[in-house]
């Protein structure tokens, strides 16, 4: 069973290793994916900043014609030349508004959502877009406008009227004098986000926020799991309180509720101080489990697998498993089945447990025990022709007969119930011994057991025998004397009686030994030889000592018992079989008519 167990252990180890590798691979993949997304977010922010910078430049360049237009310059000169404190003339305001509207329309994609023409103090002379300002309203203190009024070209981001605008401003110069400025604003809205997501930061989601309110956003169309506008809301409060936001730095990647990552940053401009910023998010494709990694494989990946190596290796491993299973499971089961079949056909008397291993050996022993019990009870199962010697020879004092014969040498190792030693063929006082019957052979002396078990009875005296006469072949054997009070153990044949005491076998006088029939002697000898070899082998397998066990001694006992069986049952022949009973070798005799 070692091979198959080792094989199972190997398979289990391989399976466990495979699961561990898959689990580790899943974790590694998730970590790599997250690292990749973090790097992408860094790149996305740099890309977005660069794009907004370029757009600011484009905006500044686009309003240059507005600031240089003659009508604009003259209108602002007139407005700036009014008396201090006086209102801007309506005619000037109207004229300038119309001109700015026309020029703004011509900007097309860079047309402003808010365009102001301010005088040299920053007072609004004309406005295009948005809500009309009150008379006298101004923008002079806004840093963007102040810079433009001082002669600089500059961009900014404003919160104006609860909306957020990208602003650009240029000074207006007339006759060598600063007479005002053009202030141009483009709203930050979903359309801007969509353009940026589609062209600059593909695969990422973008959202702009003003404090805790997300006011513009866009998601990629082809990215599964991309965060939406609402997904960006949760981390905003923490982001706004962080020092990195006030410093204009990008936040650490924040995990959104969908498992995506997002970075937050303030815009470039005055609106950063009003907590206006943007967030860029990307989904993180985490694996649902170790098996999910297979879903990522493409057809090329599958084609790249070295199937020419893997399939043969699998076949070899499979065949090895089959071989080990055959060797350690199938074949022993077949042997057991065959033995059981023979047992059923009466070709075998008992299972030979040494022929099997492990649980099958235990099963064989259990079957043998069951057979013994059936035989003992005599109920149900038909009487087998191969009977226990005890039944053949008769029980001695309701205890199993001691072992068939014993041998000089080591005493029996255990006191397990052994087959009761064969009872000495002591004729009972009232045994009817037919005249002419040969005197029963002297029984072998059974040694006294060492353990406190009932001692073996002494050899019964020879029954008063009639005058010696040639023994008839079919003479019934005298009834067996009561078996000596053997130990309850059923010692196996060859054991030292029913316990551990050494057993001595006395050599019978040759005169009392019946002479075998001439025509069956050779066959009988061969049988006895075979039985002896089997008995030796069985004893060895059972771990019993075989020192001192010789064929001569063995055959003497066989012959004697044969005679008894023949006499008792009138059988023509007796066949002996070796079996294991209670872990010890034993013999069974089967009379054959």
């Amino acid at each position: 069973m070692l091979l198959s167990r080792f094989w199972m252990l190997l398979l289990a180890a391989l399976a466990g290793a495979g699961l561990a590798v898959a689990s580790v691979s899943t974790s590694l993949y998730d970590e790599r994916e997250e690292d990749t997304v973090r790097l992408l977010l860094v790149r996305d922010r740099a890309e977005l900043e660069m794009t907004l910078r370029i757009q600011a430049r484009a905006q500044l360049d686009a309003i240059a014609p507005l600031a240089a237009h003659g009508d604009v310059r003259s209108a602002l000169r007139e407005a700036s030349g009014r008396t201090a404190g006086a209102a801007v003339p309506d005619e000037v305001a109207t004229r300038l508004r119309a001109r700015l509207g026309e020029l703004n329309t011509q900007l097309r994609g860079l047309a402003g959502d808010l365009v102001f023409g301010v005088d040299r103090e920053g007072i609004i002379v004309a406005q295009v877009g948005g809500t009309a300002p009150p008379h006298g309203a101004g923008l002079g203190a806004f840093p963007l406008v102040r810079a433009a009024l001082d002669g600089n070209v500059r961009d900014d981001v404003w919160v104006y009227g609860d909306e957020v605008f990208r602003m650009a401003a240029r000074p207006v110069v007339e006759s060598g004098q600063f007479v005002g400025a053009i202030v141009h604003g483009m709203r930050i809205d979903d359309e801007l986000c969509q353009t940026l997501v589609a062209n600059r930061i593909r695969g990422a989601s973008l959202a702009f926020f003003f404090r805790d309110r997300l006011f513009a956003s866009a998601m990629p169309e082809d990215a599964a799991g991309a965060p939406g506008r609402d997904d960006f809301a949760a981390p905003i409060a923490a982001v706004l309180g962080a020092e990195s936001f006030a410093a204009g730095e990008a936040s650490e990647p924040q995990e959104l509720g969908t498992g995506a990552l997002a970075v937050y940053s303030a815009v470039v401009g005055e609106a950063a101080g009003a907590q206006v910023g943007y967030a860029i998010g990307r989904p993180v494709r985490r694996l649902a489990g170790p098996v999910s990694i297979l879903e990522l494989a493409s057809s090329d990946d599958w084609n790249a697998v070295p199937w020419t190596m893997i399939v043969p290796a699998l076949l070899v491993l499979f065949l090895l498993g089959l071989l080990f299973t055959f060797l350690e499971h199938t074949r022993p089961l077949r042997r057991f089945a065959d033995a059981a079949d023979k047992l059923g056909k009466r070709e075998l008397d008992r299972f030979m447990p040494p022929d099997f291993g492990g649980a099958l050996r235990l099963a064989a022993r259990s079957v043998n025990t069951a057979l013994d019990k059936v035989q003992e009870s005599g109920a149900g199962a038909p009487r087998r022709r191969a009977e226990n010697l005890d039944e053949i020879l008769g029980k001695a004092e309701a205890a199993p007969a001691p072992s068939f014969f014993g041998f000089a040498g080591e005493p029996a190792k255990d006191a397990a119930p052994a087959a009761p030693p064969p009872a000495p063929a002591a004729s009972p006082p009232n045994a009817s011994v037919p005249r002419g019957a040969p005197p029963p052979p002297a029984r072998p002396v059974v040694s006294q057991p060492r353990t406190p078990s009932p001692p073996a009875p002494p050899s019964p005296p020879a029954a008063p025998s009639p005058p010696a006469a040639p023994s008839p072949p079919a003479a019934p054997s005298p009834p067996a004397a009561p078996s000596p009070p053997a130990a309850p153990t059923n010692a196996s044949v060859g054991d030292d009686g029913d316990d551990e005491g050494p057993t001595m076998v006395s050599r019978l006088p040759a005169a009392v030994l019946p002479k075998p029939a001439a025509d069956a002697s050779s066959e009988e000898d061969a049988h006895f030889q075979e039985v002896f070899q089997q008995f030796l082998e069985t004893k060895r397998q059972c771990g019993e000592p075989v020192v001192g066990l010789t064929f001569e001694k063995f055959v003497v006992t066989l012959r004697k018992n044969k005679e008894q069986i023949v006499a008792k049952h009138g059988a023509a022949q007796v066949r002996f079989t070796v079996y294991v009973k209670d872990g010890k070798a034993a013999l069974k005799a089967r009379p054959i008519t």
Binding site: A56, E121, G136, N152, D155, D156, G161
Partner: protein, 229 residues
């Protein structure tokens, strides 16, 4: 009784006179507006370039907005006072002086909303004031607070609440000032720029209803660096 009250009021106002004067403001007095150094801070803009053909204008101090001239040491004057308002993108005046315990209103005269607040003054929190609306404020205790705007970080002002404020002057860009309708009495002339007084307290006695001209006073306080927006 009504006619008598009116007569007394007329008589009082008839006694009230204007107090004029002028401040000599040094040219190096720092403005409350963000300095170029502050504007060089990163991430305030992508581009800030010279126009390319005309030299830029130098920054100038808005004396009328940034310097507040007041009389203290008496009951509140009933004469005309300059309004508090948001105009041209900032507070006007930027240095506000109010009598402690009295309410004032700051009117939004611009085209966008503002959210003014005073740092550390719970009575003056960031509440949006739409264009054309006025923000009422009552400061109960005397003290000084910085005023900012939550939507427009460039806005910077200073609020001084004085217990014995009498009157606030109309200040001209040149530094000239006038108190209108000051009742006769002895007062102290003070001037504030940002968070500090920029002249030594000057006693002024208004004897009658005739106009009083105070000698020019030089602003002597060291230029104060405007707090960062």
């Amino acid at each position: 009784m009504l006619s008598l009250a009116l007569a007394l009021g007329s008589a009082s106002s008839a006694l009230a006179g204007d107090v004029r004067g002028a401040l000599t403001v040094p040219s190096d007095l720092a403005s409350l507006a963000p300095s170029p150094a502050e504007e060089a801070l990163p991430r305030l803009r992508y581009w800030d370039e010279w126009n390319g053909f005309i030299e830029g204008r130098t920054r100038r101090l808005d004396v009328a907005s940034e310097i507040a001239v007041v009389l203290t040491g008496g009951p509140a004057s009933s004469g005309e006072q300059p309004a508090y308002r948001i105009h041209n993108g900032t507070l006007s005046p930027a240095t506000l002086v109010a009598r402690a315990g009295t309410g004032i209103q700051i009117r939004n005269d611009d085209g966008t909303s503002y959210e003014l607040f005073a740092e550390g003054l719970g009575e003056f929190g960031p509440i949006q004031t739409a264009p054309g609306n006025a923000r009422p404020i009552t400061v109960t205790a005397a003290g000084h607070w910085v005023i900012r705007d939550r939507a427009h970080p460039h806005v910077l002002g200073h609020l001084h609440a004085i217990a014995d404020l009498v009157a606030r002057a109309f200040v001209e860009p040149s530094g000239a000032f006038v108190f209108r309708g000051v009742e006769p009495g002895s007062y102290t002339l003070r001037a504030y720029h940002g968070d500090r007084e920029v002249i030594a307290p000057t006693p002024v006695t208004v004897a009658d209803s005739r106009e009083l001209v105070v000698p020019a006073i030089a602003v002597t306080a060291a230029p104060a660096a405007a707090p960062a927006p």
